[in-house]
Symmetry: C3
Subunit: 357 residues, 3 copies
Amino acid sequence: MKLSDIAKLVDGEIVGEGNVDIRQVAKIEEAGPGDITFLANLKYKKYVVTTLASAVLVSKDLPLAEFAQRRKALSFVVVPDPYRSFVRLIDTFQPASAGLKGIHPSAVIAPSALVDADAAVGAFVAIGVGCRIGAGAEVHEGTIIGDGAEVGEGTILYPNVSVREGCRIGSRVIIHSGTVIGSDGFGFAPKPDGTYEKIPQRGIVVIEDDVEIGANCAIDRATIGETRIGKGVKLDNLIQIAHNVVISENTVIAAQSGVSGSTKVGKNCSLGGQVGLTGHIQIADQTKIGAQSGVGKSITESGKTYFGYPAREVRETLRIEAALVQLPALVGQVRELTNRVQELEKSLRPRKTRKKK
Amino acid sequence: MKLSDIAKLVDGEIVGEGNVDIRQVAKIEEAGPGDITFLANLKYKKYVVTTLASAVLVSKDLPLAEFAQRRKALSFVVVPDPYRSFVRLIDTFQPASAGLKGIHPSAVIAPSALVDADAAVGAFVAIGVGCRIGAGAEVHEGTIIGDGAEVGEGTILYPNVSVREGCRIGSRVIIHSGTVIGSDGFGFAPKPDGTYEKIPQRGIVVIEDDVEIGANCAIDRATIGETRIGKGVKLDNLIQIAHNVVISENTVIAAQSGVSGSTKVGKNCSLGGQVGLTGHIQIADQTKIGAQSGVGKSITESGKTYFGYPAREVRETLRIEAALVQLPALVGQVRELTNRVQELEKSLRPRKTRKKK
Amino acid sequence: MKLSDIAKLVDGEIVGEGNVDIRQVAKIEEAGPGDITFLANLKYKKYVVTTLASAVLVSKDLPLAEFAQRRKALSFVVVPDPYRSFVRLIDTFQPASAGLKGIHPSAVIAPSALVDADAAVGAFVAIGVGCRIGAGAEVHEGTIIGDGAEVGEGTILYPNVSVREGCRIGSRVIIHSGTVIGSDGFGFAPKPDGTYEKIPQRGIVVIEDDVEIGANCAIDRATIGETRIGKGVKLDNLIQIAHNVVISENTVIAAQSGVSGSTKVGKNCSLGGQVGLTGHIQIADQTKIGAQSGVGKSITESGKTYFGYPAREVRETLRIEAALVQLPALVGQVRELTNRVQELEKSLRPRKTRKKK
């Protein structure tokens, strides 16, 4: 594809040679001749000098003259948002693999299940009694859908997902392999003899539209009522969502984080990786929580950033961190000060021995 | 169902109107008209005033007169243990879904496997050579059971569980979807050239009776001998149990915790979420370990509570935490004190310059 | 098997009775009559006195005379490397279970897939269009291999693994149950309305030769290009590897650790359990990182040991840890010092009141 055609596609302006052939997209550090790449963050502009790419998508903010002089062989396409234009080119050069089509003859579908004529069902899929699978949905190989569960339009369940009975998954949801939706919540009542009695877990999981859930997550069904993943929420891999949790819309959670039972996370929050939230708390909208933090109390004011174990407002954690580095020296300073004060006390009361406990 | 009938079922005494119709169970914050809920913890008694429920299970400890006056439309059922009575009503209003029945024709069962006539086997289940599946056991869709493995009576393996060869699972065990029993322990001997040689992992996993294991856990087989999960142990989701670990009876472990190789956890312990235990240590009976703690040494005295990274007895961790908040100020105080001491030293020895290193 | 035969097998020298019958291998603490065990670490030599084993593999470093006298019934086999000899005996007494053989008739293999005549494919396996499965490979029950993926010679995929389209797995690789290779990387571009747009994830995962990956791991495909797991890398269970990560050869990572996007881990590193690495950093070769550490910055010097949250060089973390224990006392000491300095100031300037802010 000629660079001039690419420029038209992304509505950009060429600085340099438009007749060059572009064969693929690549990251700026890895790109070679024939590749087009992008520069979104000016922090990385040094790579413009070293990249072997044939073309770079850039914004108006890049002082092009400077670079164009040094890199005669390199062409530029100036666009309003280089990253977004690059994402569009990914779709052009590396189109998505064809989705699943048709109903595989090995699939076991209960006669009472309503599978839309336009849905696709892979090999070794089991779909239980009374399920509904929407138009354009793809249920990939080895995925098991329990009785009465619902899967919305255009939703993709990748291979080996387990959806337990009665759970409801919205439209345009993506669930990656190995994830479990609707396993029993973790609830046991201690008995006097030290053993535990299982508390029945009869609620469901509701996953709203436009959610994406990574690989090997576990989202437990509610004891009663619902565990709810709000519209547009994005969960990374290996995340634990306990019973009766609510994750509100457009919140993003990175890998290996866990949310304990009945906690409610607000809208548009972002949690880093390996974060833990205790149970029965509320996290205000637009809260940011740094990686590996442990949150033990509700966060009531929205828009704040928390970090640490235990999590505190980020400034406080950073102040403590900075002081912590000085702590070993501080121990020595206090010891020295104590000696000096003792000396002073002695010289002031030279004949009396100061009593110390 | 009339409230009067419910009162009989839970052996309770009605205060208010017994003729009201109850349609379902709900949590006190979420209950609406026609719902019955419960109050187990007096801390939440404010909800008795605001709940829209038609009836509340309460204990004798609630000062009923006070509330009965304010809430004419609300009826009470006084029972010895409101929570336990509520759990019973969950079973009444939301009965468990029918378990799996029969042997699905797609299942692949080795001729030498002994599957009890009263066990159920779902679609796409594979059961290996010489396996035994007990009466009343349910092996759900997509679950794979390796050669020689055993599954006890009444045990439920939910969809997409993997049980590797030779492992033994007791009776009335519940294993949730995606969990892996008997994967190889993580053992490698370093070679002089920097590569590793795999140490054969030929032991098994033994899961005793009445254990429940959450979704997407990994329980490794022993190098030689057994990895053992004791009677009545409850494991939440995404837990790692390494080779040759022993978890003793009635211990409860919350999600995303990990126990390293050859560690032995005592009886009736409880571990919070995201806890890590190092290898080759012993944890005494009835130890409690707070969420996200890291335990690097054996805990020898039973009944203590540990917390933190590294884990210390909870009181010590809390004292350090409290001091930590004061640390940034302390750094300033020590600096100021140093100045003041220097001033004092000067005024005492005005003509001599104190030597400092 | 006679001990004398074992001695020949491991090329060792018997001290004691060679005619004794050995029935199995066991750990020294658990061994009973008829068992052979080993002593590799002299720290555990006390067990030589108490073990019920019939024989112990020992090195020349053990002062045998001392023990032989006290344990008449115990025989010794002196070898250069007792642990390695023991591993060999595990293979003798507990041989590996027979691998998978043949192609199960229930497997669904695309006509265009090239499955070597000497590869084995289990029940309910799906192999997509254009896949290649090498000689001696074992694809166990319930494992799903997406279109165009490749599996090298002698590689074992245990039950219920998911390999997504286009990923390439080398030779002699072992992947344990439940692991997902090639799920989408976690990439979303925020939109002005607070929702997110999915960034296409069109790269692949490349797993080089001789890698072992534990159970229920998630290894995401690259946005563009590759996520790469280098030759000889060993990953434990429940590990998260994000998009475009590179783990270089012979690095070992313990369970539940996570590596964020585009981070590059060097060769021969070792990461403890539950470690987190932030994105876009580089970890130098031969770095060791302690369990539960959080690494937020590149580590540029090779061969160092890091530990803590945030991770610092181990000595620094230990110094801070040691000081931290003294911190609560330090707060008291500073308070006391402040009082004493105030007293001194008063006695020096008895008539003037010192001004304090």
